[in-house]
């Protein structure tokens, strides 16, 4: 794969096992993957580098994914990055809130296997590719 077309994503996930699993899988599938173990770190990394997409967990000890999303959407530099919520929070109101904040998808971790996830994310990133990243 050409480096120029290699996509890059940021996974914000506090759970180390999952963080490692998802990074491993995405990297294996040719997607450059950075990880953040918390909300604050996620925001820092999101602003530091231009990603093609962000996978954002919601339940995190320092800052919830919803809060992170709000910060990202307020910053012109990050507001256009497609965000996919990847969480086990299945409550309808949270899902609604997430979509309302501008997330491109809301995925429940427990209902989706790693290769299904990569397939879905790749598809979503293609759909929501920003002009600058093309």
């Amino acid at each position: 794969m050409e480096p120029a077309t290699k996509k890059s994503i940021l996974i914000v996930e506090d759970e180390q096992f999952l963080r490692d699993l998802y990074r491993m899988e995405f990297e294996e599938n040719g997607i450059a993957t950075d990880v953040a173990s918390g909300g604050k770190e996620g925001i820092e990394k999101a602003k530091a580098k231009r990603y093609d997409g962000i996978l954002l967990d919601i339940m995190m000890p320092d800052l919830s994914g919803i809060e992170v999303m709000k910060v990202l959407k307020q910053d012109p530099a990050t507001k256009d990055i497609p965000v996919i919520f990847l969480t086990n929070m299945g409550q309808e109101d949270v899902i609604k809130e997430g979509i309302a904040l501008g997330a491109v998808a809301y995925l429940i971790k427990s209902t989706i296997l790693p290769d299904q996830l990569i397939e879905k994310v790749t598809m979503l990133l293609d759909q929501h590719a920003t002009p600058s990243s093309v």
Partner: protein, 735 residues
């Protein structure tokens, strides 16, 4: 104007008395007139009698004179004979005092008195007078009255002409007459009566009167009305009308008078008015007396009568007032023997009736109030809030629990509209309209009940409460004006607990999800990496780990779904979908499990394509997964068959199995939360009892229906119907 009976009686009596008085006066008046007439006639009669006697008296004298004149005219020279005859006259007529014969020239010829013949030497000439002149002309004429003698007695002379054969006057006889003799005649008149007769001459001078003292005063009485009438009217022979005047003794008298012919004297008969009208006076007195008597009698009668009538009435009035003041034992004792006594008896009956009914009322009131107390104690002791509202939805009852629940006191909320007191919210935080939970005005269906097991109650600034509400409409309540009874059961604590439980379940499920996700993820990755090197057994182990983790995930999802349903957070995004591919997917997902149990799992697709239904794909997937995995679980041999059909506006999905079936008594509870068919545990059947509850909730959210037909031991058919998407509904409907 208010008149007492006594006044009315008095006025009535006065009117009667006045009328009676007027009648009596009329009678008196008539009697008086009649009596006066009668007296007048008598008086006139008396006067006439007296006048007749005076006339007779003069006639006698004239007769004597005629005899003497005749004697003289036959032989005027024989004076002795004449004198002798004249002397005899004195014997026969005691009123004659002196007789004098005169020539027409007035020369005295012969003078004879009771003492004898006056000597010729003493004779003289008669003073020429009017009376003499009349006599010479041939008319008998009396002289003026005069008084002579030592007693100054009244006298008068009568001049009588002496006619010759040739009817010429040849001389005059002058007869002196003592009027004192007349007095006797007069005084005899009216002797038996109370009246007197008296005589006046043509000048009005009194010439005869029984009262000699008055006579001697020689009064002229021409001013007396009875006399003046006759003096002024020479043509009248007697008085016309009644005459009253005061006599010399200042006594009021009634009088009549008549004229004596030729002499023109007037005879008056007078009587004291009181005497004359004694009959009238007597009648007057009688009338007055009888009237007074009548008056007193009527008055006494009036008093007795009024006392007889008004006293019982007053007693009745007093009794009525006593009764009015609540003295119900009041009775009257009127023994007047008339209608008032009847009235009194009626009053007594009424009073005793009143007393009886009041007593009965008191008794019933005591029992009512004791009932009411009982009821009040019961109401106060009920731990649920109880509100009664009237037909205008105003609060009319508010028990202690209601006060505690809402923070209002009963006083504050009575007569207030129910929605000013409490506000209710449903699970999706929508205000429940008043008409819904107190359906009085909206519908008059008696006994209609509204019930909601869990609503949020906001009232009076208190913290929110969770309550269960039950509204019972009062049947035939228009009379009592009670519209409905609202019962609020405070489930705040239970609700909190429930919420905590749901929160816990939700949290637990989420917490379980994360490691499960890791397990599944790593398992999947690991399996892919090493599956080539695994032997058949190891392959089987992997499969079983995977199946177990999937089952675990399925259970967790079910728990989460229940918690969503309970919180009202289960949502479905409804849009037109085609059922066939979804069923295909679920069937292929579960094919392994069916195969493991050696069951045939079959989807018989319809001959022609069916229309789309309105549904949420993932939810319907859950429903199908639930129903089909249930069918597999409860079927040991045979098949599980899925089929579709269209019925009207719905597409019906049937899941038919040849399993153990469901006992009939369990069918009604089958879709209830945590319900498990009896003995299923004993039979080793697994399950949380949540699957069908979730399934039913989802189907209901889809406006569909779900039902089951089952024969124990033969198998079951679960069916659900979903509404067909209308061709116009292209837009997804979010629920």
């Amino acid at each position: 104007m208010k008149l007492t009976i006594r006044t009315k009686l008095l006025v009535g009596a006065l009117i009667i008395l006045c009328m009676f008085g007027a009648l009596q006066y009329l009678f008196y008046d008539v009697t008086k007139q009649h009596s006066e007439l009668h007296v007048g006639v008598i008086q006139l009669d008396k006067a006439e009698t007296a006048a007749l006697q005076i006339e007779n008296f003069f006639s006698d004298i004239e007769a004597e004179n005629r005899v003497l004149a005749h004697d003289y005219s036959e032989d005027p020279s024989d004076l002795n004979e004449v004198a002798h005859l004249a002397s005899h006259t004195f014997l026969s007529n005691k009123f004659i005092e002196k007789i004098t014969f005169l020539t027409p020239g007035g020369k005295e010829i012969l003078k004879v008195d009771k003492a004898g013949v006056t000597p010729e030497a003493d004779l003289s000439y008669e003073i020429e007078s009017k009376s003499l002149k009349s006599a010479i002309k041939g008319t008998t004429a009396p002289s003026q009255l005069y008084y002579a003698g030592p007693q100054q007695s009244p006298y008068f002379d009568l001049f009588f002409p002496i006619f010759s054969n040739k009817a010429s006057v040849v001389g005059v006889i002058k007869t002196q007459i003592s009027l004192e003799n007349l007095w006797d005649i007069i005084s005899k008149v009216g002797d038996n009566e109370d009246g007197i007769a008296y005589v006046v001459n043509d000048q009005g001078l009194l010439i005869a009167h029984p009262n000699h003292a008055f006579l001697k005063e020689r009064p002229n009485l021409s001013s007396r009305n009875v006399i003046s009438q006759l003096l002024q009217n020479p043509s009248l022979s007697q008085t016309q009308g009644d005459f009253h005047y005061q006599n010399e003794k200042h006594v009021d008298v009634l009088a009549k008078a008549v004229k004596v012919p030729e002499l023109n004297w007037i005879v008056v008969f007078e009587q004291p008015t009181s005497e004359a009208l004694s009959v009238v006076t007597a009648i007057t007195n009688l009338l007055l007396f009888s009237y007074t008597g009548l008056f007193i009698f009527v008055f006494i009668l009036l008093i007795v009568f009024s006392v007889n009538i008004t006293n019982p009435i007053k007693e009745l009035q007093k009794a009525t007032k006593l009764l009015q003041s609540g003295e119900l034992s009041t009775r009257t004792a009127i023994r007047s023997g008339d209608e008032i006594e009847d009235l009194g008896n009626a009053f007594n009956q009424m009073a005793s009736g009143l007393q009886d009914s009041f007593h009965a009322l008191e008794l019933s009131q005591i029992s009512v109030s004791s009932e009411r107390n009982k009821l009040a104690v019961i109401l106060a002791s009920i731990s649920d809030a109880l509100l009664a509202i009237d037909l205008e939805q105003r609060v009319i009852l508010f028990n202690k629990a209601a006060e505690k629940l809402t923070g209002y006191t009963e006083k504050e909320v009575l007569q207030k509209k129910i929605d000013e007191v409490i506000t209710l919210y449903d699970t999706s935080s929508q205000v429940i309209p008043v008409a819904q939970y107190s359906p009085i005005a909206a519908s008059q269906q008696a006994g209609k009940i509204y019930a909601n097991p869990s609503v949020k109650l906001v009232s009076g600034g208190r913290s929110e409460k969770q309550v269960s509400i039950t509204t019972g409409q009062i049947v035939e309540s228009h009379q009592a004006n009670v519209g409905a009874i609202i019962t609020l059961h405070d489930i705040t604590q239970e609700h909190e607990l429930e919420k905590m439980k749901l929160d816990f379940v939700s949290m637990a499920a989420h917490e379980l999800r994360t490691p499960l996700t890791s397990i599944q993820g790593y398992l999947d990755v690991l399996y892919k990496e090493i599956k080539e090197s695994l032997n058949t057994n190891q392959q089987l182990f992997f499969e079983r780990i995977k199946a177990s983790s999937e089952r675990l995930q399925f259970l967790i999802e079910n728990l989460l779904n229940v918690s969503r349903i309970e919180r009202g957070q289960l949502t479905s995004s409804l849009q037109p979908i085609n059922l066939e591919p979804i069923i295909d997917q679920v069937v292929s997902d579960l094919a392994n499990r069916a195969r493991e149990k050696q069951l045939s799992l079959l989807f018989t697709a319809p001959q022609s394509p069916l229309p789309s239904v309105i549904a949420d794909q993932s939810r319907i997937q859950e429903v199908l997964a639930n129903l089909i995995s249930n069918a597999i679980q409860y079927t040991d041999t045979g098949s599980v068959t899925i089929s579709l059909e269209q019925q009207g506006n719905e597409v019906i999905t049937h899941i038919q199995d040849t399993g153990i079936g469901i006992p009939e008594e369990s069918l009604p509870h089958l879709f209830t939360k945590f319900f498990r068919v009896k003995d299923s545990l004993v039979q080793g059947r697994k399950g949380t009892g949540l699957g069908l509850y979730i399934t039913k909730s989802i189907i209901e959210q889809h406006h569909g229906r779900i039902w089951v037909k089952s024969v124990a031991g033969k198998g079951s058919v679960f069916s659900f119907a979903l509404p067909i998407a209308q061709s116009s509904e292209h837009n997804p409907i979010s629920q």
